[in-house]
Symmetry: C2
């Protein structure tokens, strides 16, 4: 008899049929005795169409007005979803982000939530109605202008509302059944994980698994709000994202050391060749990259060759930022005195993630052996408390994932028939 917050992504409400299907699911939850608050994204490709419209009129639309335009998308989906619920005989009231009390800073296009005051939502559900809230949007505390939250915004809206309403759970619906031990498109034995910790989910997401956005998981972790990741196309239980103690408790008999294998093909590698091996040179290089607003990920510096006192420095970055970084570094060539730059976007990153890793020695060794036996060459390595990542050639990503998955016995015998994709915005 508690409050359930449900979030449906754009693919779940892409057309009238999808909206009716989702409406039925919401009504079922209500009938089961819950108070239901629904957060919804824009229908299907609406957001892209609105961006196209803006670009038709203006090459660089002002952020305030772009937010005003884009928020029309959720306004449409939430209103028609409320209509579909009415047709099933239940009262539903839609609310904009502003009406729902989602208060943000004034950073248009990437606003941060600074407070949630869901008085109208609480009233609506107390009066027996289902509340439908526009995801992705809020209102600036200072300017009172409409803002959008940027990538992962709707998931974050849902978690933030769940926290503010003291909901029992925040359910995030997409077209995927949950979080898997690996991407089922490249690992046929991938298995749905029943429970996973916030920390592991953050590592998986940061290492390229397209599951939940970092931001909403961080929010949920801070306030200990359980997230249930599940598919709007099936009735199956999905994956519960909860605090580490609750995962351990549940699986104490046979704790998995590794929870999953993540991979990411969206990175590129830049190598700065022949850098003089003296203090301050590496700092100058990374200062130039940072000044260009590039997010670098992994860094490797070779031992300098004794004869020349020259070293090579390699780092990875999102391939979309490659051109900017190369231009910034090229300007530095004479000043630092390196020999040249190499750019390679045919790389991939494969990571194993697991909370049990820190207490189990030899995990890295087992991972590297498995890669070696599969003929996969490791180009770079980085580690954290609960993760080991390697950079390999893009052509070897699938082999690497399969080898790691098998080496840590992650697979199920049956092959899951699911499509693994991203959640909506």
């Amino acid at each position: 008899m508690g409050i359930v917050v449900q979030k449906y992504g754009g693919s779940s409400v892409a057309d009238a049929a999808g909206i009716k299907r989702v409406a039925q699911r919401i009504v079922n939850t209500k009938k089961a005795g819950h108070q239901v608050v629904v957060v919804v994204s824009a229908m299907g490709d609406t957001t892209d169409e609105l961006i196209d419209l803006a670009n038709e009129v203006s090459p660089l639309p002002p952020a305030r007005e772009l937010d005003m335009l884009l928020t029309a998308g959720e306004r449409m989906s939430m209103a028609v979803l409320a209509m579909a619920i009415h047709d099933l005989g239940h009262e539903a009231r839609s609310f904009t982000g502003s009406q729902a009390g989602v208060i943000t800073d004034a950073e248009h296009g990437k606003a941060k939530i600074i407070d949630v005051t869901p008085g109208r939502i609480q009233t609506a559900i107390d009066e027996g109605a289902i509340a439908i809230v526009a995801g992705f949007q809020g209102v600036s505390q200072t300017t009172k202008d409409i803002t959008t939250l940027g990538r992962g915004g709707s998931d974050t809206t849902a978690v933030a509302l769940a926290v503010a309403l003291r909901a029992d759970v925040c359910e995030i619906y997409s077209d995927v059944d949950g979080i898997f031990t690996a991407d089922p498109r490249i690992e046929p034995h991938a298995r749905k994980v029943p429970r996973i910790s916030y920390e592991e989910t953050l590592e998986m997401a940061a290492q390229g698994a397209k599951i939940l956005h970092l931001r909403c998981v961080e929010y949920a972790r801070r306030y200990d709000m359980p997230i249930h990741v599940r598919s709007s196309f099936s009735e199956k239980e999905g994956t519960w994202v909860v605090k580490a103690e609750d995962v351990a408790q549940e699986e104490s008999m046979e704790a998995a050391i590794i929870t999953g294998v993540a991979h990411d093909r969206s990175q590129a590698k830049i190598t700065v060749v022949g850098v003089p091996d003296k203090p301050g040179e590496a700092a100058a290089i990374f200062r130039a990259v940072a000044d260009a607003q590039i997010n670098i990920d992994m860094i490797v510096q070779n031992v300098s060759a004794a004869a020349t006192s020259l070293t090579d420095i390699s780092f990875t970055l999102p391939s979309g930022e490659g051109q900017t970084a190369m231009t910034a570094l090229d300007r530095l060539k004479a000043e630092v005195g390196f020999d040249g730059l190499q750019y390679d976007d045919s790389i991939g990153k494969v990571s194993i993630v697991g909370a049990g890793m820190s207490s189990s020695p030899g995990i890295s060794a087992r991972f590297f052996e498995a890669l070696s036996e599969a003929g996969v060459n490791i180009e770079m390595i980085s580690t954290s408390e609960i993760r080991v990542s390697v950079v390999v050639a893009e052509s070897q990503v699938q082999d690497a994932v399969n080898a790691a998955h098998a080496a840590f016995d992650l697979g199920s015998d049956e092959i899951e028939a699911v499509v693994y994709g991203g959640t909506g915005r």
Copy 2:
């Protein structure tokens, strides 16, 4: 150096090119030294598309949610219009009806404005920005829900804002050059009227001229706000709608007795045949029609034939409501004891309107003579202080308009090359 409120209808902002054109016109007004507030309708067919979307999901969408959905239309047009103005180097800020302080009652789909508190608009223009306001929408004072104003809503928003901001003028833009002495599509000598009184405009609009909505003219008359009706496709002066004294003053040398000829093909006529001529029978008939929420316009009761004590009662009504009225009346047949019902939607109404009429005897006679000479048969007649209307066969509407136009010397020698159409919502 005063405040100018401009309203652009959906046909003026139908696509990116239209939006850029309108943006340039707004910037020109700003450059001329005015503070500019713009009220905009949804782009082209957006509103119809949103209604289609609603109908796909729900046969009878709840009014609150339909308002939430439809208001997405102006949200889009106002945001992209603000973008286009930015690109011309001027600051523009868009505001929803709620943000602009358009406070209404809670009648979704046909809300009435009960207050306008344009604090944010005043601040925006005082800071040198152009304010863009969504037409057609407001926020309920009691429920805080988003409302729409119904037909003519955007025009009314513009006039109400102009009044609240103490603007110099409210300019209403459409694809028509102004108010004409008759519809130029059927009267090639129709002439643009330079000035017309609120009262004459109301009569013209009520008698079928598709110019301004009654509602916005009533609002302007109540607060004496001058309206300038003009085309967004040309730089020509349009028609000024002002108080009667100002029209008379201007044209005192040669006051036109008749301002224009309006016509309306959207009416139908119902005749109740053989009604017993005794007290209460007519009342019963019109009570039945009123109970069915039918708006009747003209009524004619024939003198009863002495031999039978039976009479015929005819009245006109919007043809869209004809079926409902016929059904309501048919139920009454036995009770009242009339012989039958006749339905005719091949009729038209032609009206002459002019403030000078009341002080000039013989106007009706001249009108009827002109119709007679043109071979037009009059079926019904009604008059007001400043109007004479006749019902004729639909096939004779054009002849009747031409005859009246010529009889009162309304024509210009040159034929205006304009398209005469309705304003947006």
